[in-house]
C-alpha cells in the first residue's frame, strides 16, 4: 500500500478549504431526517466514490454532516446522503 498516497488522502481532511465532514450514526441520521421532515433521498447526494466519502468509510444509505464556515452565518450545517457510485 503506497504510504505516500495514503498521506495525501489524509491531507484532504486537513486542507483549510475542506470543511468538517462526519458520518452520522443511525440514530443521529433518523433525528436529522425527522427534524427536516424529509426522506433521505431528498437530501443532496454524495457519491460513495467521492474521496471524502471513501475516507469516512461511508456506505450508500449513510448520511454525512458537513459543518462549514460561512461568511454570513459563522458556521452552517449541511447534510449529504450517500448514494451508489
Amino acid at each position: 500500500m503506497s504510504d505516500k498516497k495514503k498521506r495525501i488522502e489524509e491531507k484532504i481532511l486537513e486542507h483549510e478549504l475542506v470543511p468538517k465532514h462526519e458520518l452520522l450514526t443511525r440514530e443521529e441520521a433518523l433525528g436529522v431526517l425527522r427534524e427536516l421532515g424529509i426522506r433521505p433521498e431528498q437530501l443532496p447526494w454524495i457519491r460513495a466514490s467521492d474521496p471524502i466519502a471513501k475516507l469516512l468509510g461511508a456506505k450508500p444509505g449513510d448520511i454525512i454532516r458537513i459543518v462549514r464556515k460561512s461568511p454570513t452565518a459563522g458556521t452552517s450545517v449541511a447534510y449529504r446522503f450517500v448514494v451508489v457510485g
Binding site: 443532496p44 459563522g74 452552517s76 447534510y79
Partner: protein
C-alpha cells in the same frame, strides 16, 4: 363542477396508434382537391366540412355546434406504404440496434431480462435517475451482442443514414419501413419495458406511420385576403402535397410499376411526411412556398421563442396594458406615474356600483367614453355589456344605474397600476405606481426611480398594466409599491435615491456659504408645501438670512441623529471631528444639520449606510418616500434659483497644471523609452509566466496609466472649489476625476482587449509610423485632451477603443439575457419552507437554511442582528461629539 371534481395527478405522453387515429377520425381524406370550381370545400378533401366549422354562423357537420363551441375534428389518410415518423428515428434506431433481426427479441438472455425488469420496476419510483441509467446500461449491453441469446443468429450492424434510412450492413441492406414495422411489431412487451418504452401507450410499430392523422381545420385556418383570394395555411399546403404523393404511389402500386419508380415515389412521400412534421431537418431540402419562404410546419409551430410553448403558453399578450415613451417629471412623487389622457381614457377599471359610489359612477357614465373622467362600458346585473360609444341616451343610463351594475370607468388619479421596463432583470423592474393623469403623450416618472428600472429618457419606452380586481390591486399595492422597493434585497441599501442634479442641488443648498433671503426661503418652503413656522434666521443683521442647512433640516424628523463622513471628506478636505473647518463631516442632531454638506454618500441612490438609508431604517419607507419627494423638489428649486451649468472654461487646464502634466507625461515617455531600450538590449527581466514582449507591454501600460493619473491629479489640484465640473465630480453627481482628466489634460492610452492598439500594418498600426515603433504615441497613447482637441491619428486610436466598447455592450447584453433565462428556469419554483430551508417542488432540499443564515438583507442591519453603533448614534447621537 359538472359531475365530479377530478384532480390531475400526472400527464402521460404516448404515441397515437393507427387504430386510435381511425377511431378519432370523422372522415377519410381521399383526394388532393380542396375546393370545387365554386369555391366550396370538396368532401374527402383536406378542408372537408366534417373536420370542423370555419365560417361563423355555420353549424358543424359532425357535432352540430357553432364556431365557438365546435372543437374541430380529426380526419385520417391511409398511406399507400408505411413511412418513418422523423421524430422517432432515434428511438427506432435504438430498437433496431438492441433487438435481434430474426427473432426480434431484445439481445439480453432471458433470465437477465426478468432480473432487469424487476430491478427497473423497483427503481422506477424511488430512484428515477438510477432507473434511467439502468435503461441506458441495458441498451448498451444489448446493442453490443454479436449473437442473439434467444435464437442464436448472428447480428448485423445497423447504420442510420440521415435523415431516415436504415441500413443493415452485411444483411438485407436497406431496410424499408414496412420491414421495420414488421420487426418492431414483433418485439414483445416485456422486452420493451427494459428498453425504457411503455408498450401500453407507445408500441414501437406506431412509430412507423401508415395512417396519418389530418388535423382539424381550426388548427390550420385559411385566411381570406382583401382581394377575395383564399390563402391556405402552410399545414394545409403540406397535407395536399402528401395526399398527392400518396395518390401517385397508390396508382403506381396498382398498375404494377417498376421497382425503381415505386421506390422514388415512396421516397417522395417520405420526404413530404418528414417536412410536414419538421421542416428544419439537417440534410433535408427545406419545403418552400411559391414565394420562397420556408413552410412553417408542425415542429416550427412549437419550437423557439415565438413557438407555442415559449410564445403562447409561458408568455401571453395581455389586455389592459399600455406602452409609450417615458419622460421625466420632477413634480411627481416617487410613487406616482404620469399617464396621458388618451391612455387613461382607453384603459379601464371595473368598479361595482354601490349605494356609496352611486353618484360618482353616474357622473362617469354621464361623461361617457370621450370625456375624462368617464366610462367605456357598463355591465348590467344580467351580465350584458353596454358599449357607451353606442348608447344614445347616457343620461337615462346614468339614471338607471343602481347597485349591482359594474362600470368600466376610465383610469383616474390615484388608481393602482403596474409599471415595467424591459429587460425585467430584477423584482424592481415591475413596480406599482399611483396614476396621475396628465396632458401629453408620454408616461411621466420621477427621476429617482430611474435607477431601479435602469431607465433614461433617450427614447426609452415602458409598459403599464391595470390590475382588474380589488384583490389584485390590494396585492399589487402591498407588494409592489415603489416605496416598498426603495431598499434592494441585493445589498439592503436604497436603490432609489438622489441622482445627478439632486446631488449637486443638495450640495449647493447645504454649503456653508449659502445664505438665503426671506424671499428665497419662502419660495423654497412653498415648493415643498411647508406649513409650519419659518425658523429663526441664522443671521439677524444687517438683513435676516437663513442657511441652506436650516431649510433642509425642516424635512428631517425631529428625533433623527446621524454622524457620517461625506464623499468630500478626503484628501486635504478630510474631516474627522465636528470642529472641522472643511465642513465635510455630516452631523445631524435632533433632526438638524449642524455641520456637513449633502452629497452622494448622504442621499445618493445605491449608497448603503448613507443618511437616507438610516432614515428609512429608522422611520420606515413611508417617511423615506415622503422625505425624498420633498427634499428632491427642494434641491431642484434651489439649483434653479442659483443656476448650475458648465462651460468650456470649466475644463480649461490651469497654466501650472499644464506645465506639471506636460512634465509628468514627458517623464513617462522617457521611462517608456528606457524600458524599450532595455527590451532591445535584452536586459528586461520577464514577469513570471510572460514572454519578454508581453512583459514590456505590461510595464509600458503600467507606466502610461500612472502617467495619466498623475497628470490628472496634478491638474485637478488647481481646480477651483466653485468649478461646477469639479463640484459634480466631487459630490458624485456626475463624472469623476478620470472624466475631468480626459477633458482637460490628457486622454490617455486607448486600448483594445486590454492591450495597446497594435493591429493594422505589419509591425505598425498606421503607415505614419516606422516599422517596429513601440513608442507610446505609435500605439494609441493620446496625449491631447478633449479641451485641446485630438490630432487625426489620435482620433483614429480613440475610435478604435470606442468601437470595442460598443461591441462589448452588444455582446454582453445577449449573453447575460440567456444566462438570466436559464437561471430563472432553474430557480423559479424554489420556495422557502417554514423551517427556513429552501426546497424544490418535489420536496428536495436545496439549501438547509436560506442563504446559510436565513436573513433577508432588506430587513436587517447589514446581516447583523443588531447594529450597535447605529443604535448608539440613533439614541444619544445628539449628545455625541466626534
Amino acid at each position: 363542477m359538472v359531475e365530479s371534481d377530478k384532480t390531475i395527478k400526472g400527464i402521460k405522453f404516448g404515441i397515437l396508434s393507427p387504430e386510435m387515429i381511425r377511431k378519432i377520425s370523422v372522415t377519410a381524406v381521399v383526394t388532393p382537391e380542396v375546393y370545387d370550381e365554386n369555391g366550396i370545400p370538396i368532401e374527402g378533401g383536406v378542408m372537408d366540412p366534417r373536420l370542423g366549422v370555419i365560417e361563423p354562423g355555420q353549424r358543424c357537420a359532425t357535432c352540430g355546434n357553432t364556431l365557438a363551441q365546435c372543437p374541430g375534428h380529426f380526419g385520417h389518410l391511409e398511406l399507400a406504404k408505411p413511412i418513418i415518423h422523423i421524430g422517432y428515428v432515434r428511438h427506432i434506431f435504438m430498437l433496431l440496434k438492441t433487438t435481434c433481426h430474426s427473432c426480434n427479441r431484445v439481445k439480453i438472455p432471458e433470465e437477465d431480462v426478468l432480473r432487469y425488469r424487476d430491478l427497473y420496476r423497483r427503481l422506477r419510483n424511488r430512484w428515477p435517475q438510477l432507473a434511467s441509467s439502468l435503461i441506458e446500461f441495458i441498451r448498451q449491453k444489448a446493442s453490443k451482442a454479436l449473437e442473439c441469446p434467444h435464437c442464436g443468429s448472428r447480428q448485423f450492424k445497423i447504420r442510420l443514414e440521415k435523415p431516415a434510412t436504415f441500413i443493415e450492413e452485411g444483411g438485407r441492406g436497406k431496410l424499408y419501413p414496412d420491414v421495420i414495422k414488421q420487426w418492431l411489431s414483433n418485439i414483445p412487451n416485456t422486452d420493451l419495458e427494459i428498453l425504457g418504452i411503455d408498450p401500453e401507450v407507445a408500441r414501437p410499430e406506431w412509430m412507423i406511420i401508415n395512417v396519418l392523422a389530418i388535423p382539424p381545420i381550426a388548427v390550420r385556418p385559411s385566411i381570406v385576403l382583401e382581394t377575395g383570394m383564399r390563402a391556405e395555411d402552410d399545414l394545409t399546403h403540406k397535407l395536399v402535397d402528401i395526399i398527392r404523393a400518396n395518390e401517385k404511389l397508390k396508382e403506381a402500386l396498382n398498375s404494377g410499376a417498376p421497382e425503381i419508380i415505386l421506390e422514388d415515389l415512396w421516397e417522395l412521400l417520405q420526404y413530404h411526411v418528414m417536412t410536414y412534421i419538421d421542416n428544419e431537418l439537417p440534410g433535408v431540402p427545406v419545403a418552400k412556398r411559391r414565394s420562397g419562404m420556408p413552410l412553417k410546419t408542425l415542429s416550427q409551430r412549437l419550437k423557439g421563442k415565438e413557438g407555442r410553448f415559449r410564445g403562447n403558453l409561458s408568455g401571453k399578450r395581455v389586455d389592459y396594458s399600455a406602452r409609450t415613451v417615458i419622460s421625466p417629471d420632477p413634480n411627481l412623487g416617487i410613487n406616482e406615474v404620469g399617464v396621458p389622457y388618451e391612455v387613461a381614457m382607453t384603459l379601464t377599471v371595473p368598479e361595482y356600483v354601490t349605494q356609496w359610489n352611486l353618484d360618482k359612477m353616474r357622473e362617469y357614465v354621464l361623461n361617457g367614453p370621450y370625456r375624462w373622467p368617464g366610462a367605456n362600458y357598463v355591465i348590467d346585473p344580467s351580465g350584458r355589456r353596454l358599449d357607451l360609444r353606442y348608447v344614445k341616451d347616457l343620461k337615462a343610463l346614468a339614471e338607471s344605474l343602481k347597485p349591482g351594475y359594474i362600470v368600466e370607468r376610465h383610469l383616474v388619479n390615484g388608481d393602482i397600476v403596474m409599471f415595467n421596463r424591459q429587460p425585467s432583470l430584477h423584482r424592481m423592474s415591475i413596480m406599482v405606481h399611483r396614476v396621475r393623469v396628465l396632458p401629453g403623450k408620454t408616461f411621466r416618472l420621477h427621476l429617482a426611480v430611474c435607477p431601479p428600472y435602469n431607465a433614461d429618457f433617450d427614447g426609452d419606452e415602458m409598459n403599464l398594466h391595470v390590475p382588474q380586481t380589488v384583490e389584485a390591486r390590494a396585492e399589487a399595492e402591498e407588494l409592489l409599491l415603489v416605496e416598498k422597493h426603495i431598499l434592494t434585497p441585493r445589498y439592503g441599501g436604497p436603490i432609489i435615491g438622489g441622482i445627478q442634479d439632486y446631488i449637486s442641488g443638495g450640495y449647493l443648498l447645504t454649503l456653508k456659504s449659502t445664505l438665503l433671503t426671506k424671499d428665497q426661503v419662502s419660495d423654497l418652503l412653498a415648493t415643498i408645501d411647508y406649513l409650519g413656522e419659518i425658523p429663526e434666521p441664522a443671521i439677524l443683521s444687517p438683513v435676516e438670512a437663513w442657511t441652506g442647512k436650516q431649510i433642509f433640516s425642516l424635512l428631517l424628523p425631529e428625533d433623527f441623529n446621524f454622524i457620517g463622513e461625506t464623499r468630500l471628506s478626503s484628501g486635504n478636505l478630510k474631516c474627522s471631528s465636528d470642529e472641522c473647518f472643511w465642513d465635510t463631516l455630516l452631523l445631524v442632531k435632533k433632526g438638524r444639520i449642524l455641520a456637513g454638506v449633502i452629497d452622494k454618500t448622504v442621499i445618493g441612490s445605491q449608497q448603503p449606510k448613507s443618511m437616507m438609508h438610516y432614515l428609512i431604517m429608522d422611520k420606515g419607507v413611508e417617511v423615506g418616500a415622503e422625505f425624498m419627494n420633498k427634499a428632491f423638489k427642494l434641491f431642484l428649486r434651489y439649483i434653479e434659483m442659483v443656476g448650475f451649468t458648465m462651460t468650456l472654461d470649466n475644463v480649461k487646464p490651469d497654466e501650472r497644471a499644464l506645465e506639471e502634466s506636460a512634465k509628468v507625461i514627458s517623464d513617462s515617455y522617457g521611462e517608456v523609452q528606457k524600458l524599450i531600450d532595455m527590451y532591445r538590449a535584452g536586459q528586461l527581466e520577464p514577469v513570471p509566466g510572460r514572454t519578454l514582449s508581453e512583459t514590456l507591454e505590461i510595464r509600458i501600460l503600467d507606466v502610461l496609466a500612472r502617467a495619466r493619473d498623475d497628470a490628472g491629479s496634478a491638474s485637478i489640484k488647481y481646480m477651483s472649489l466653485t468649478n461646477p465640473v469639479y463640484i459634480m465630480a466631487r459630490t458624485g453627481a456626475r463624472g469623476g476625476n478620470l472624466n475631468i482628466t480626459q477633458m482637460s489634460v490628457v486622454l490617455g492610452q486607448q486600448s483594445v482587449r486590454g492591450e495597446r492598439i497594435w493591429r493594422g500594418y505589419r509591425g505598425r498600426v498606421l503607415s505614419h509610423y516606422k516599422y517596429g515603433d513601440l513608442s507610446p504615441k505609435a500605439k494609441g497613447f493620446v496625449e491631447s485632451s478633449f479641451y485641446r482637441g485630438l490630432t487625426p491619428l489620435e482620433v483614429f486610436f480613440h475610435s478604435a477603443g470606442g468601437r470595442e466598447g460598443l461591441v462589448d455592450t452588444a455582446v454582453r447584453t445577449s449573453q447575460s439575457g440567456y444566462m438570466q433565462r436559464r437561471l430563472i428556469n432553474a430557480l423559479q419554483d424554489l420556495y422557502i419552507e417554514y423551517d427556513m430551508s429552501v426546497r424544490s417542488l418535489y420536496g428536495e432540499l436545496v439549501q438547509f437554511k436560506y442563504g446559510e443564515d436565513s436573513v433577508d438583507p432588506k430587513k436587517t442591519a447589514f446581516g447583523k442582528a443588531v447594529d450597535i453603533d447605529r443604535i448608539i448614534v440613533k439614541n444619544v447621537g445628539w449628545r455625541m461629539s466626534v
